[in-house]
């Protein structure tokens, strides 16, 4: 494995951008906790968060070739990956240590080096047992959170007391992580499971087409009430309605016919909203109104779009195409309602919670703003889903619409539209736009499902805005960056 090939896996430019963005988000979250003193939040970010994220990407580059079935057959792959990852990690560590030294000359270099190198080497161990195993990731996040809680002052004090201990244990830990993470047993485990490389997740959607990965993940999935046997046969006594089919579809996706929201997706969204809030505070200071609203809108709008796909079971149901269209419509409507309401509630709750706990400004995002943003976003989901189906051949137009509309709303959200949104004409207009959007969506879904190729498993998500965005903007961006 030459350096050239390794760099192809590493995708340096893309990784750099991704690491910066994620590090900034980590910083914003830390800031949200330590609202007054900047130093408290910066140090943990620099010596723990940044190395962790950087290490994740560096390790990801090595893990991607190693999570292939043929990996154990390639001679010297393991050693080569180990060597290259170590070199990259050391380079990054030196860079970050230098930066830390520049900002805090009082912290001994050795101590910070030790901590940074350990943090950067830690992700080498990750995810070798199951694809999408969140526990290792969660552990790292908890450790980081702990460091944030401890705060910069206490951390630098600790590093000043026994710097040689930090250095020795840090380097020792890093060595152990490298040895373990690239050991033969672990590599053998890696070869048997698929992997989501952080670099690929950042932009493109090739993972969605990986049916083998989907299968592996599904096999490990824990479902609630899996023993609940689905019986639509009872329906012999009454006519089978669309609702029964929607329930069947839900069961196929979630494992429970009565469970309407997809809890994992909802949780992800709420977390994204919290991160968004942190960014709001970070950028907008603690000022009320202002850019806060725009950022809130972005969070709702794009988050919503990302969560929505053409929800249909990949298993072929014995229903007519028109019924399939109506099933998809109702399922999406369910999701749209939850996608809209839940984050708004989460933000409202967090906003009130931050006030209650930290005493920051009364409602730094007012309930009115939240409702306003909600109302404003409402028409766009169905309209854009309809566009996705309507313009499925011209993905460029749809992506332009998605990005363009978002930008327009972003710019105008906190200006004069604010007052208009919550007034009677505003509500009526938005309401009718939403209804129009829903009608358009319903019509387009019947056209789409009336003609689409049901034998292709990728059909089921191909008209979603998320996929369209990822495929056009994402792939273009990806090719530009690497």
């Amino acid at each position: 494995m030459t350096w050239r090939l390794y760099l192809k896996f590493l995708r340096p430019l893309r990784s750099l951008i991704a690491v910066t963005l994620y590090a900034l988000m980590a910083w914003a979250l830390a800031e949200m906790w330590w609202r007054d003193s900047r130093g408290e939040a910066v140090l943990p970010t620099l010596v723990v968060a940044l190395p962790l994220i950087g290490g994740l990407f560096a390790a990801g580059a090595a893990h991607e070739p190693m999570h292939q079935r043929f990996a154990m057959l390639l001679p010297g792959l393991r050693r080569s990956m180990q060597a290259k990852t170590t070199i990259i990690v050391i380079i990054m560590t030196v860079a970050v240590t230098w930066l830390t030294f520049r900002l805090w000359p009082e912290i001994p270099v050795g101590a910070s080096f030790g901590l940074i190198v350990a943090a950067m080497a830690a992700p080498c161990l990750g995810q070798h047992r199951h694809p999408g195993n969140k526990w290792e990731l969660l552990l790292l996040v908890l450790l980081w959170a702990l460091t944030v809680g401890i705060g910069g002052t206490r951390l630098s004090a600790a590093m000043n007391t026994v710097p040689w201990l930090w250095l020795v244990s840090g380097v020792g830990a890093a060595g152990a992580f490298f040895a373990l993470g690239f050991s033969t047993e672990v590599c053998r485990l890696r070869a048997g499971t698929r992997f989501l490389a952080p670099q690929t997740m950042f932009f493109n959607l090739s993972i969605m087409r990986d049916l083998i990965l989907e299968r592996q993940m599904a096999a490990k999935q824990k479902t609630s009430r899996c023993d609940e046997m689905w019986r639509i046969a009872q329906a012999r006594r009454r006519r089978v309605t669309t609702w029964d089919w929607v329930a069947a579809m839900r069961f196929g996706q979630v494992g429970n016919a009565r469970q309407i929201p997809m809890w994992k997706a909802m949780l992800r969204m709420v977390l994204a909203c919290i991160v968004g809030l942190a960014v709001i505070l970070f950028i907008g200071g603690k000022v009320q109104g202002g850019p806060n609203i725009s950022i809130l809108f972005i969070v709702i709008y794009y988050n919503g779009l990302m969560q929505m796909g053409q929800i249909a079971s990949p298993m072929v149901f014995p229903v007519s195409r028109s019924r399939l269209a109506s099933l998809v419509f109702w399922r999406q409507l369910e999701l749209m309602v939850f996608i809209l309401c839940l984050p708004l509630l989460a933000i409202a709750a967090t906003s009130w919670g931050v006030y209650a706990v930290a005493g920051v400004g009364k409602w730094f995002i007012t309930p009115q703003s939240i409702m306003g943003v909600g109302l404003l976003s409402a028409p766009f989901f169905p309209l854009l889903m309809a566009c996705g189906a309507l313009l499925r051949k011209s993905h460029r137009v749809t992506s332009a619409l998605i990005v363009g509309l978002g930008t327009i709303m972003l710019v105008s959200a906190h200006s004069f539209l604010q007052s208009w949104v919550l007034s009677v004409p505003g509500v009526l207009t938005l309401g009718s736009l939403t209804t129009l959007g829903l009608i358009l969506l319903r019509w387009q879904l019947s056209v789409w499902w009336g003609r689409v190729d049901l034998s292709d498993p990728t059909t089921y998500s191909s008209a979603s805005p998320r996929r369209i965005l990822m495929e056009t903007v994402g792939n273009r961006g990806a090719t530009l960056l690497n």
Binding site: E214, R215, Q216, M217, A218, A219, K220, Q221, T223, C226, M229, W230, R231, I232, A233, R236, A248, F251, G252, Q253, G255, S313, P314, M315, V316, F317, P318, V319, S320, R321, R323, G450, R451, D453, L454, S455, P457
Partner: protein, 304 residues
């Protein structure tokens, strides 16, 4: 049990064509299938067999031409027809997180004619691991489950796309037994696309061959076998044989005093008259499906 012939044909296609951008998957396909019988769909890789089956099942819509499955246009297929249709796909798609048992239960709920006894028997016959999750199964086991899901509701039209390629020989022979049983009990029409000609020749009574998206053969299997033969010709008088020019001869290999001729019997003269005319001895040998397949599909010189 599950077929009521309200229309005389289970499938009818007129001038069917299917294009995928530049690639022509099917062109000018005209077919009709009646009730009962096992149709063997043969052809080389990429000939369009899977596409044809997908079109028949209504999963893929044709670019042009008309087709009707179970009396309805394929884009309008609804539950009354779909519950009488069974499709065993080459790459089956399931709800991966479910166990086999649960998935069977789930699918059974959609088909009023699901036969639980048959399901039980099939599970035993094919050795299906019912307690395991679908995401964990090997390719062969997945194929077995796909067969179960396609057959247990006793469809009137059963489409199978390479159903046995991943099965071990014992499972394959049981599968064939099963197909024949299904044939015997109900007026079921089976269309099976397979590369395993040995299996097709045991059960098929009609052969449809596709080549580059076109139907090059559509005949009863017995008639097909009886329309070709190989004649081994030896010179009686010890003279070298010169090439024969009869139009019925599709292929000939001559080596000195012996020649092998592949003959299309429809246009061929009687063996005796040929022998007398050329002063040769002729031994005839019938050709089996594999040889006819090679004859039809290797080159373009033969069209049935």
């Amino acid at each position: 049990m599950n077929s009521h012939p309200d229309s005389p044909l289970v499938f009818q296609a007129t001038n069917l064509a299917k294009h995928y951008d530049a690639h022509v998957a099917l062109a000018g396909v005209t077919l009709s299938l009646g009730h009962g019988g096992i149709v063997g769909l043969i052809g080389r890789n990429g000939a369009g067999k899977s596409t044809l089956l997908n079109v028949m099942a209504g999963l893929t819509l044709p670019t042009s031409g008309e087709c009707y499955t179970l009396g309805t246009r394929t884009d309008l297929l609804d539950s009354p027809e779909l519950t009488r249709l069974g499709f065993v796909m080459q790459e089956p798609r399931f709800v991966e997180w479910m166990t086999v048992e649960l998935h069977l239960e789930f699918t059974a709920s959609f088909y009023p004619s699901w036969d639980r006894d048959l399901q039980g028997r099939l599970v035993a016959m094919l050795d299906v691991p019912v307690k395991r999750r679908l995401g964990e199964l090997s390719t062969g086991d997945r194929q077995k489950v796909a067969i179960l899901l396609g057959m247990c509701h006793r469809p009137a039209l059963l489409l199978l796309d390479e159903p046995m390629s991943s099965l071990d020989p014992i499972a394959r022979s049981r599968m064939l037994e099963l197909l024949l049983e299904l044939m015997g009990d109900d007026e079921c029409t089976v269309v099976i696309s397979s590369h395993l000609l040995n299996d097709i020749e045991k059960v098929a009574n009609r052969i449809i061959a596709l080549d580059a998206g076109r139907v090059v053969l559509d005949e009863g299997y017995d008639e097909l076998l009886e329309s070709y033969a190989e004649w081994v010709v030896t010179a009686k008088d010890g003279q070298s044989l010169s090439p024969f020019t009869e139009p019925c001869i599709l292929r000939q290999q001559t080596s000195g005093r012996i020649a092998r001729l592949t003959v299309c019997l429809a246009d061929a003269p009687e063996v005796e008259s040929f022998a007398t005319a050329h002063n040769v001895l002729v031994q005839t040998r019938p050709l089996n499906l594999e040889e006819i397949y090679a004859l039809l599909l290797r080159g373009q010189e033969v069209v049935a």
